[in-house]
């Protein structure tokens, strides 16, 4: 355990303590705890900045499951540190923002902040893990916390829908990721990322290399909302705005980018990696920017814009992988794409965080996020307007903001492949600048429209007479800080270039530092009249034209029909799978416990039978059996006859008495088999049992007279017979097979020596296996309490069974109803269609109208506990 481990795990610790802390200081908003912790971790992480800048990563290991080779190794290099700082830095701002945003009176804040802290911890763990399996664990934990946070307002159908969608898609990707990791392990024999880097060429020629790459990219693409897996992100906007700002723009969706960057040293240099990553990113970039224009919800615009920007970074990561196949000058040239990717990653977190918070402020103050209703609020919200402007300009790639620099670098990077001449790029490279330029135009348009339609122009009807004012200070400060940072990153990129961006890029492309040189940084506002600058000027000109005529283009934007969308495919397939699941499940889960017993017996028959059939050690003993005296024959035959007669008994009392006969014959058997204790106990128990049975009949007059034989059923009989035969075979096999020295000799030897008792059976019970006996008494106690409750408790105290919660128009409720219907229809004519409730409610039903209150059984129960105790006392006194 090192400081780094502690830092990674500290959010989990606070999450566990938060409910207690909330109780201790109830008046303090719980967001302060989260903000303080994030600030603490952020400040501590800054200490490592010096080491990382000099290019010396920090590695600390902690064995977790050493037998499986799984260790919790923390590895902090430039890439990890950049992400960790982003996670905690944004964490501070989001936590501060949420203090004003989340209403302490209305919502359960403990839940919110526990999820948020767990997410922060998972994200930190994800970026510092050196072990693939630990990374995977944290990866899934981020998916789960994202699910919980999207569904935070769980009373809303849209929230639950969005939460489920994001969970299904990201966890599916996570499973792909796990399979990819396992394939990597199969190929290389290690789960450690560092060791995988060194595996090199033999890995690349392995036949599993491509499947592993595709599976890992599947995971990364689903997490980072790349086309066509992006559909969960817009629905994730149901989460509270701080969550959207934090998880769904700044941090979690970047986990996929992190993974691609992290895995780059392993996969880069192959054409598949280059094409999938860069082309996937490019398509997402274009699709997201076009789709963002159609949105009317502020958060919807930002969601699609996030998708688009993630695509941009993804394509840059793909382009930077070209550096894996070149040397020297050209390698540095293509590595610039990596620098651009990392820098844009940071820029995006900054401006998108600011914009999300601004959208939250607008929503908070006006009550709507619909840009068709908004407009003209710049005068009353000057600060929010300004910071939105900064954020939007940075997003559009306008000077003098940070986004301009990274956008310029992006445009330069997409021109470079024109000269590469590998992977068929000579034919297709022209695609990159064209698509990038078009997407940039659209990005410009939606950025401008975002600000214009929200803040400028005339006030629209719904908000005309509303009193709107600036948000509380605490809500404004975090986005203002981010907006200032967007500006600072534009004017002084050198602040982060050498301390953060360079080490991160070098971690992603280790080849450039192989010769001991450092990657040159070239981040500045003015590059001269490069082709990229001309492209930007073109973007601005065309963008302004499009923005001015935006209304006329609405029809064109809506041209893509909704019916064939990926969302629809998702809905249909989900419904299809649910339907199939219900059908298949109701085939065997028909609600009849007898069927379930049959399944269990059938499975037992299968497994035991197969083992018996297949094992070679099974022998049947011949001869040397104990002899049977004539009177023993009588008992044995009586046992068999009594048991066989029970099912045929027509009336219940006869069945009971026959069972009792079997029990008493067992007593005699125990006597002859030299087991006096058993005989005594069985005698007592059997007497009480039969009395109990008959007492029941005394209180249930109808049952006494009711005569009804068991109808013969062949399937039941066959199952029963098969089990009987199998058990006989097992018994015979056990007789013949005795591979181990019996432990009983020990007890016989030590009974008197160690425990001082002469009755060996009793000594075993109270001494050698004392814990067993104690638990046995507990079982009796539990049974006694159960019986007591059944008899004593009235309905009043347990009337919770009638509570039933249903939501109108709830899809899952309908499915449940359908499921029940299918289940009951299958069950035969005697059943009534009714919702099934947990069995515990049935117990409360039973206590409903209880006239008499028989305590006989109860006292019997206690009697036996006593006799049980006295038996043990006898054992002791023997000693």
């Amino acid at each position: 355990m090192s400081l780094l481990h502690l830092l990674t795990l500290s959010p989990f610790l606070l999450a566990a303590l938060l409910p207690l802390l909330g109780k201790a200081v109830p008046r303090l908003h719980k967001g302060w705890f989260a903000a303080a912790l994030s600030a603490l971790v952020f400040a501590t992480l800054l200490r490592y900045l010096g080491d990382i800048r000099d290019g010396s990563p920090i590695i600390k290991s902690f064995d977790w499951i050493p037998s499986l080779g799984i260790s919790f190794t923390v590895y902090l290099d430039g890439l990890s540190l950049l992400f960790a700082l982003m996670i905690t830095g944004m964490g501070v701002l989001v936590a501060l923002y949420s203090i004003a945003y989340m209403n302490a009176a209305k919502e359960s804040l403990t839940r919110f902040y526990v999820f948020l802290l767990v997410f922060m911890g998972a994200m930190l763990g994800l970026v510092v893990s050196d072990n693939l399996l630990t990374l995977y664990g944290f990866w899934e934990l981020t998916s789960i916390t994202s699910f919980l946070l999207i569904g935070y307002k769980n009373e809303k159908h849209r929230s639950r829908y969005g939460a489920l969608k994001s969970l299904l898609i990201t966890v599916a990707g996570g499973l792909g990721l796990l399979s990819g990791f396992i394939l990597l392990y199969v190929m290389s024999g290690t789960y450690r990322i560092r060791e995988l880097f060194e595996a090199g060429a033999p890995l690349m020629s392995h036949p599993l290399f491509l499947p592993a790459m595709i599976l890992i990219l599947f995971g990364a693409f689903t997490k980072s909302a790349q086309y066509p897996f992006h559909i969960w992100l817009p629905d994730a906007m149901e989460a509270p705005t701080p969550v959207s700002a934090y998880l769904h723009s700044a941090t979690m969706v970047k986990a996929g980018l992190y993974l691609v960057a992290r895995m780059s040293p392993i996969f880069s240099g192959t054409s598949e990696w280059f094409w999938i990553v860069s082309l996937g990113g490019l398509i997402t970039l274009l699709y997201g920017s076009v789709a963002a224009i159609k949105q009317t919800d502020l958060k919807g615009i930002l969601a699609y814009s996030t998708i688009s920007q993630l695509g941009l970074i993804m394509s840059l990561l793909g382009l930077s992988s070209l550096s894996g196949i070149f040397d020297g000058e050209e390698q540095i040239l293509y590595a610039a794409a990596g620098t651009a990717a990392i820098f844009h990653l940071l820029n995006h977190a900054v401006f998108k965080g600011a914009l999300f918070m601004a959208a939250g402020i607008v929503d908070h103050e006006t009550g709507t996020r619909d840009i068709r209703k908004l407009g003209g609020i710049a005068q009353v919200m000057p600060i929010t307007f300004t910071l939105s402007l900064f954020g939007a300009f940075s997003m559009a790639g306008l000077p003098p903001f940070g986004g301009f620099i990274s956008k310029e670098m992006f445009l330069e990077s997409v021109i470079e492949p024109l000269h590469a001449g590998v992977f068929g790029l000579s034919t297709w490279a022209a695609l990159f600048p064209i698509v990038a330029w078009i997407a940039s135009v659209f990005t410009f348009v939606y950025s401008v429209l975002f600000v214009y339609r929200t803040f400028l122009g005339p006030r629209k009807k719904p908000l005309k007479n509303k009193q709107i004012h600036e948000a509380p200070l605490l809500m404004v400060i975090p986005p203002v800080l981010l907006a200032i940072m967007a500006l600072v990153l534009g004017f002084f990129p050198g602040l982060v270039a050498y301390s953060l961006i360079r080490p991160a890029t070098e971690a992603m492309i280790p080849a450039v530092t192989a010769s001991g040189e450092r990657l040159p940084m070239d981040l500045k506002l003015w590059h001269g009249l490069t082709p990229a600058l001309w492209m930007t000027i073109g973007v601005i000109v065309v963008g302004i034209l499009l923005a001015l005529t935006a209304k006329r283009w609405t029809k064109v934007y809506n041209f893509i029909p909704r019916r064939v969308s990926i969302n629809r495919a998702y809905d249909i397939s989900l419904r299809f799978f649910e339907h199939i699941t219900v059908r298949v499940t109701s085939l065997y889960m028909n609600g009849s416990s007898r069927s379930y017993v049959k399944y269990i017996l059938g499975f037992m028959l299968l497994v035991l039978g197969l083992i018996l059939f297949n094992s070679n050690d099974v022998t049947f003993r011949v001869g040397a059996y104990a002899t049977i005296a004539p009177y023993e024959w009588v008992i044995l035959i009586g046992l068999a006859a009594g048991a066989l007669a029970v099912p045929f008994a027509k009336s219940r009392p006869v069945a009971i008495i026959l069972t009792g006969t079997v029990g008493y014959l067992m007593v005699l058997m125990f006597v002859f088999l030299r087991a006096p204790d058993l005989a005594l106990t069985q005698m007592v128990v059997e007497s009480i049992s039969v009395t109990l049975y008959l007492l029941c009949f005394y209180h249930l007059p109808k049952l006494r007279t009711e005569r009804q034989a068991v109808r013969f059923r062949l399937p039941n009989f066959l199952v029963a017979l098969a089990v009987g035969v199998l058990m006989t075979l097992v018994a015979l096999t056990v007789l013949g097979t005795n591979p181990f020295e019996p432990v009983s000799d020990y007890y016989v030897r030590e009974s008197y020596e160690s425990a001082g008792g002469k009755n060996i059976v009793n000594v075993i019970l109270v001494d050698f296996r004392g814990f067993d006996t104690m638990l046995e008494i507990m079982v009796l106690g539990v049974a006694a309490i159960g019986i007591f409750n059944m008899i004593k408790l009235r309905r009043k105290a347990t009337d919770v069974g009638s509570r039933h919660v249903s939501h109108e128009g709830d899809e899952s409720e309908d499915i449940a109803a359908h499921f029940r219907k299918a289940q009951y229809e299958h069950d035969g004519p005697t059943t009534v269609k009714a919702p099934k409730e947990p069995w515990i409610h049935c117990v409360s039903d039973l206590n409903h109208d209880d006239e008499e209150n028989p305590e006989d059984e109860l006292s019997d129960e206690f009697e036996d506990s006593e006799s049980n105790d006295s038996r043990k006392k006898g054992g002791d006194s023997d000693a």
């Binding site: 059996y625 048991a643 087991a675 075993i764």
Partner: protein, 118 residues
């Protein structure tokens, strides 16, 4: 004797399982009793039968039957008694409330009850 006991174990299992698979609650309880007896006999037979005297020291005997299965069975008898009593009271209460001991009818009865109460 062991072979005969093994056969009887099979018979007890058959009868017990068949009873458990019936629709009558009371017979299901009886079936579990028979199953217990079957298991006890199986445990006894496992260590061979009548290989010595009863496992009581200080009576001048050297050879004893295996005491371990006996200890296990003793535990089993007592626990089985608790469970039988519980089952029995459960079915007794179920009958009081639902007026039947037939498993199938019980389901529909309890569903009706719940419908009335709501």
């Amino acid at each position: 004797m062991e072979v005969v006991v093994a056969v009887i174990v099979g018979i007890l299992f058959t009868a017990g399982i068949y009873l458990i698979l019936t629709q009558d609650l009371l017979r299901i309880v009886l079936g579990t009793s028979l199953l217990t007896h079957a298991v006890h006999l199986l445990l006894m037979a496992m260590s061979m039968l009548k290989t010595g005297a009863a496992p009581l020291l200080g009576r001048g005997k050297e050879q004893f039957v295996d005491p371990l299965p006996q200890a296990l069975i003793l535990t089993s008898i007592v626990i089985n008694f608790g469970i039988t009593a519980f089952f029995l009271v459960l079915s007794y209460r179920a009958y009081q409330k639902l007026d039947t001991t037939d498993m199938e009818r019980m389901r529909s009865e309890s569903a009706k009850h719940r419908g009335r109460r709501r």
